[in-house]
């Protein structure tokens, strides 16, 4: 446990230095000695020590002066002062200047052994704590919330503006744009980051289940409630609750939600005990809540309570410049996890990805790249590896073409795909002859991919 702890003993008396050196060496510590404050600082510059034992009175630099200098260089250092002449004022000064403790010579060996052991353990715990915090941050980092477009830079700015506050945030955007990643980014950049972020998909649960999910239930509260269970609001104590698809919450639950969000108090289903929980609320929706409010399907007061700070996550088609970055990010992730030597995306495939009309947004792109890595056999991803049975020039232009030819092209392609490129059947459905269909296929440069 203390095998690696390094101690520096600073005392002008050789006999004291040697005695303590041998005594701590037998304890298994790595020990070094210094005969003065100046000597100690020289050794401190060259190597790192976990603990310092300083004599208070020394010629030249005193123990208190040395303590200050050590703390200036490394505030986490543990310093124990030893003195033959104890006085309350010097003890107070030493502790105020950051000394871990202050002992009087001669000291009981049991006291010194346990003091040093406790101090080293405390330092080890602190270092371990820092390492774990870094690890948690690394694990929680929403690494696929990436982008260099102006839209994403604005999103990052908004996240960093709102994260340190306790403000309620509403995240809007189409399905698959990364609303949950934005919520996680807000949470991990907030002071609540060491507490949980609890996600509830409101749209996935029936009203009664959602109530039990959010508030928990007591044993026997309803059929099947064999055990007492904590609700999501209780689990989010100290942290954040992320309510996804909040637009789908029933009118009854909207009343409950409003009350809980305002009071931060609730009872479990079937219970009377008032439970307090300190949580931050982040919601997400892909529905136009204003329309739901106008239609009387969403409470106006709850809408204003939730929509304090709004972040709109743009669809992928509005930030096409981020597609190469995202595609390469997913490629690296999947090729590493699947241990496949695919390192690049061909220019043709990348062009296709950039022009494609990503209705499923980033999630769809992620799935497309994953699929391409699964089927890909070469060192780079080809158009044929992508999961679209379409031509690479299907979505030339911005994909939102309104011209007659663009619509015709798209319609023909859809029919061809629906009929597995059976020309006769497709021509019959399109009510044109096969020759005309071939001509249009050539005209629009359509071709069957991955067949």
């Amino acid at each position: 446990m203390n095998g690696k702890a390094k101690i520096l003993i600073v005392d002008d008396e050789k006999v004291v230095r040697e005695s303590l050196f041998h005594w701590f060496e037998e304890e298994g510590y790595t020990v070094d000695t210094a005969e003065s404050g100046e000597d100690a600082l020289r050794k401190f510059e060259k190597g790192k020590f976990d603990l310092f034992l300083l004599d208070m009175k020394m010629p030249g630099m005193s123990g208190l002066e040395l303590l200050k200098k050590i703390k200036e260089s490394d505030p986490d250092s543990i310093v124990i002062l030893i003195t033959a002449f104890a006085s309350v004022p010097t003890a107070i000064t030493a502790l105020k200047d950051g000394a871990y403790d202050y002992v009087t010579k001669p000291v009981d060996p049991d006291e010194l052994a346990h003091l040093v052991k406790k101090a080293v353990e405390q330092r080890e715990l602190k270092i371990e704590n820092e390492q774990l915090k870094e690890k948690i941050e690394e694990i929680n980092k929403p690494d696929n919330l990436i982008g260099e477009s102006q839209q994403m830079k604005r999103i990052f700015d908004l996240i960093h503006t709102v994260a340190p506050t306790d403000t309620t945030v509403m995240i809007r955007g189409e399905s698959g744009t990364g609303k949950e990643l934005v919520a996680k980014a807000i949470h991990i950049n907030s002071k609540r980051k060491y507490f949980p972020i609890v996600t509830v998909n409101c749209g996935a649960l029936a009203e009664t289940l959602l109530e039990s999910e959010l508030f928990g239930h007591e044993k026997g509260a309803f059929t099947g409630a064999h055990f007492k269970r904590k609700g999501k609001f209780e689990m989010a104590d100290g942290g954040t609750i992320f309510l996804d698809e909040v637009g789908s919450v029933s009118p009854k639950m909207q009343v409950e939600l409003l009350r809980v969000i305002e009071t931060k108090q609730f009872s479990r289903v079937g219970g009377n005990q008032i439970i307090n929980s300190d949580f931050r609320v982040i919601t997400a929706t892909n529905e136009p809540l204003e329309d739901l409010v106008k239609a009387g399907k969403f409470r106006e007061d709850l809408y204003y309570r939730l929509n304090v700070f709004s972040i709109i996550v743009p669809p992928l088609r509005e930030r096409r410049e981020d597609i190469p970055l995202l595609a390469h990010f997913f490629l690296n992730r999947f090729s590493t996890s699947m241990n496949k030597p695919i390192k690049n995306i061909s220019k043709e495939a990348l062009d296709f990805l950039v022009k494609y009309d990503w209705r499923g947004n980033v999630r769809e792109l992620e799935n497309a790249v994953e699929r391409a890595v699964v089927v890909g056999k070469e060192s780079s991803i080809k158009v044929e590896d992508l999961p679209f049975h379409v031509s690479s020039n299907q979505f030339e232009g911005n994909g939102d073409g309104k011209s007659l030819s663009a619509i015709e092209k798209k319609h023909i392609l859809n029919v061809l795909c629906e009929n597995n490129w059976n020309i006769s059947r497709s021509a019959h459905i399109l009510e044109i002859d096969r020759v005309t269909l071939y001509n249009k296929i050539n005209k629009y440069g359509l071709r069957q991919i991955n067949q």
Partner: protein, 172 residues
């Protein structure tokens, strides 16, 4: 490997005999009582009414450095090193010399109750402990091992009375 037991200011012959007998069972080499007439008065501190153990070891080295084996001084004098209020003993890590004081191993020191068996048990633990340092052992985390650190009499009583397997392997 010979072990030379050097009594200095030590009058408990019964304890000395018991110690020799027990050590003979544990160590293969010869256990010899070796009187060197060591004068330790200069190691005495009037202020503390104790003897400075490191100085006693230094005196013993001058007289016994040519001996082939480990030299353990056994004394009834109360020992100290600077900074600490007392020590049960002291040893040269990976060296030849060590010292054990029975002064604070007597139960009378704490409760005015005489218990010779307890004294013998504690004395042997401290002898094995200091000899362990001579053999290069540092303190062991295992409470059942005699090399566990013991800075109070309670810890001497709690820890085991011989080396754990790991420490014993290192000695061999």
């Amino acid at each position: 490997m010979n072990i030379f037991l050097v009594p200095v200011k030590f009058s408990n012959t019964a304890l000395l005999s018991s110690v020799v007998e027990e050590l003979s069972h544990k160590f293969k080499g010869g256990i010899k009582i070796f009187d060197i007439n060591l004068d330790i008065n200069n190691s005495y501190s009037d202020e503390r009414a104790q003897y400075f153990s490191t100085q006693i070891i230094a005196l013993a080295i001058k007289k016994t450095d040519d001996l082939n084996g480990k030299v353990l001084i056994l004394t009834e004098a109360d020992l100290y090193i600077p900074v600490l209020t007392f020590v049960f003993g002291e040893a040269q890590l990976n060296g030849k010399h060590s010292i054990v004081s029975v002064c604070r191993l007597h139960e009378e020191f704490y409760s005015e109750i005489t218990d010779e068996n307890l004294l013998k048990e504690r004395t042997l633990k401290e002898i094995f402990h200091e000899l362990g340092h001579n053999f290069g052992l540092k303190h062991c985390a295992d409470w059942d091992c005699v090399m566990h650190s013991s800075t109070s009499i309670e810890e001497v009583d709690i820890k085991g009375n011989y080396y754990c397997k790991k420490c014993e392997r290192e000695i061999k």
